[in-house]
């Protein structure tokens, strides 16, 4: 276990480094904003009692579950880093406001009266007396809030923000516990390290000779100038980076083959063009949420399944067939100004599968063949399959299937169940990596019951117009990946625990695309 963990850190050190940096960026920006806004609000609340409602308000906001707050912000700011930073800032407000308020309110009123009676203006009382005396409270708020923000930023990947949460989320969705652990451990280390630094700052700013040195240091005009220059330099670098390299924003859904496709697109585009690709890997909330991001211009392109676009995005009735493709393409063009490219070649749809032994025993090739013997077999599927329109009820009706028994199984247990003979027939996703070594025979959907789910790039027309050299690059993938190849790549990630980025790279090399 530990050696696997160490292996992960070593083999994917690039990924973890960039995720850690992203994590720090998001957290530090949020902490910085929370300090400024929180201090401002805290001062307002304590100086003007009629503003006390602000305290109640931030209190209420604080009780909103974090996932929900991230979710609430999606319609307003979409998915991505901005969403995360805003949500984290809002969470950071309460500790800041409350501690600033408490810090100021618990000052001996005699001290404030003395300052007032000696001729200080309100401003002078605030800056010379109240804030310095409230500083211990404020500092402890900053420490707590920072640790909280760093931890909470781990959830931010659920709304498509970067950071170490990406590793955790990917670990969960690709069933890779070591990745989850690695991400969590790094978050803990980052949080503790920053807390340690802040503890040092707290000691320096405590009442005593060191605080004087610190204030004198920061009042020095040269120091202020140096800080300003550093900030401008960093900002300048980012602006330069943004303007010299146009960025193509690619997003994917949160499961293995989408991760692989994301990395494949990233590497191919960056290899063939000067564009920088910003990959938002693993958007939860599925197709409608990604479409939302496309409409807002947050994303330029994403790999999508035509059947999903038909049903979940366009909400069109009826089963999607390949002959409906032009209708789908037109509707996307008209509704969203997005273009569907030709498929990569693989289809991730449903099929029924039986162990090879049973297939041979009964000579099963198609689903219609199954109807003959279904009364001797037990069928297992995830509960979702039993409730879908393109699921169990209509399937059995169309094919005249009549299973002996059915069983609700968790997706992750399905393959074990069929291997152990607990069920004889299951539904599978055609690219599922676990099919690879499961000894299953996939039955043909000879009546065309299941909708078509071919995977294609969906690109904003605007992006294609602005970057005309992008289209030929994307078209390179057309028809290059068969369903079996995708299944094998999924197997490498899900079962062999390989890095999806590496798997994508190897495939591109194998196909001579890079």
């Amino acid at each position: 276990m530990i050696s696997e963990l160490i292996n992960i850190f070593i083999s994917q050190s690039d990924l973890f480094l960039s995720l850690t940096i992203e994590h720090l960026e998001i957290s530090i920006i949020a902490v910085f904003l929370a300090i400024i806004i929180g201090l401002g609000l805290g001062i307002t609340v304590s100086e003007y009692p009629r503003n006390k409602w602000i305290l109640t308000l931030v209190n209420i906001i604080y009780t909103i579950p974090s996932i929900a707050l991230f979710g609430f912000l999606i319609p307003v700011v979409g998915v991505g880093d901005t969403n995360a930073i805003i949500a984290l800032t809002i969470y950071g407000l309460l500790p800041m406001v409350r501690n600033t308020y408490t810090g100021i309110k618990t000052i001996d009123p005699g001290i404030i009266e003395a300052a007032e009676g000696m001729g200080s203006t309100d401003r002078q009382i605030l800056f010379k007396i109240k804030l310095p005396l409230a500083l211990p409270h404020i500092m402890s708020a900053i420490r707590n809030m920072t640790v909280m923000t760093i931890a909470l930023a781990g959830i931010a990947s659920f709304v498509g923000a970067g950071g170490l949460g990406v590793a955790i989320y990917r670990g969960i969705t690709t069933n890779n516990i070591n990745l989850v652990l690695a991400g969590s451990i790094l978050i803990t280390i980052v949080a503790l390290a920053i807390d340690g630094i802040l503890a040092g700052v707290e000691r320096l700013t405590a009442v005593g000779p060191s605080r004087k040195k610190v204030t004198r240091f920061f009042k020095n005009k040269k120091v202020i100038a140096a800080i300003l220059i550093i900030i401008i330099a960093i900002a300048g670098y980012y602006v330069y980076d943004e303007t010299t390299h146009a960025t193509i924003n690619v997003s994917t859904k949160a499961f293995t083959e989408q991760y692989i496709m994301g990395y494949m697109l990233e590497e191919l585009i960056e290899h063939d063009t000067n564009y920088k690709v910003h990959l938002t890997n693993g958007i939860s909330g599925g197709a409608p949420m990604i479409q939302d991001g496309m409409n807002k211009g947050d994303f330029d392109l994403h790999p999508e399944y035509d059947g999903v676009g038909w049903m979940e995005v366009l909400n069109l009735p009826g089963k999607y067939r390949e002959e409906n493709k032009s209708q789908l393409v037109d509707a996307y063009e008209k509704n969203y100004n997005d273009r569907w490219l030709e498929t990569y070649g693989f289809e991730n749809t449903y099929r029924l599968a039986v162990p090879k032994s049973i297939a041979e025993q009964y000579n099963l090739k198609t689903t219609s063949d199954l109807a003959r013997v279904s009364n001797q077999l037990t069928f297992g599927a995830e509960s979702d399959f039993f409730s879908r329109a393109d699921g169990y009820d209509n399937l059995t009706k169309d094919y005249g299937l009549n299973f002996k028994d059915t069983m609700d199984l968790d997706v992750s247990l399905k393959y074990d169940a069929v291997k152990q003979g607990k069920v004889d027939c299951i539904d599978v996703y055609t690219t599922d990596g676990r099919i690879y070594d499961s000894n299953l025979t996939i039955l043909e959907d000879d009546k065309g019951f299941f909708p078509s789910y071919y995977c294609c790039s969906v690109v904003r027309e605007e992006t294609l117009r602005e970057h005309p050299d992008l289209l030929p690059v994307l078209n390179k993938l057309q028809g290059k990946i068969s369903t079996k190849e995708m299944m094998e790549m999924n197997y490498e990630v899900d079962v062999e625990k390989k890095d999806p980025k590496e798997v994508a790279h190897n495939f591109l090399v194998k196909k001579g695309l890079i």
Partner: protein
Amino acid sequence: MSEDNIIEFHHIKKSYVDNVIIPDLNLNVERGDFLTVIGSSGCGKTTMLKMINRLITPDSGEILIDSKNIEDMDLIKLRCSIGYSIQGTMLFPHLTVGENISYVPDLIEEDKKRDRKYRKGKKVEFKRSKDEKAEDEANEIEKNKRISQWLKIVGLDESILNRFPHELSGGQKQRVGIARALAASPKILLMDEPFGAVDEITRRQLQEEIKRIHRETGITIIFVTHDIGEALYLGDHVIVMDEGRINQYGKPEDILNNPATPFVEKLCERTKLVVNNKD
């Protein structure tokens, strides 16, 4: 109105909601006087004191300092020109002894700079002019000199300049408090039970100290206390207050020998012995 009066109260009235604290106060404070104000708690003595630096505004009537109505003066300048020392000293815990003492001079300095900026038409100036720089430097030196001088006057050693209040003894804190109140060389010093929280021996010393300071500086002191012994011992003049009214104003021996009201008489009875021993 007289040139000899530094502060004058004319028909001052103050009440909180329905509770009349001071019905009608008239009082002249002589220049250079050490005036002690004695009375039970809630008699309005602190209210009277705080009206002088406008921490409390009277409902009606007027207060004059040097024949000028204090309502017409700039609040900040007024307060900076009046020393203020209250019970428990209320030193600023986050500032060193030196910074505490120079608090008011620093405020005055900032006020001056504000005025300077205002004169310039609020233009942001990155550089001070040569004159201004020289002026600021001179002020800095002057300030440090004054701090040491005040430390000496209140009987403290310069070695404590960089200490923080929590590192000082009770008596030292009181002395720093007095030095802080005096640091801007005010004409008037308001003291509200300043020695209320120290032990008897230290209090004796501090009383001696403040008497000496008064003698040496010629400052006008208004000193509020609820200890009749302290009031009689310190004051050139004593005011006995009860329910917002001045029962008697006079020299300590007048108060002691010719109490004007039964309240004054009762107040003096227990301390007569002590004071007689003093003489």
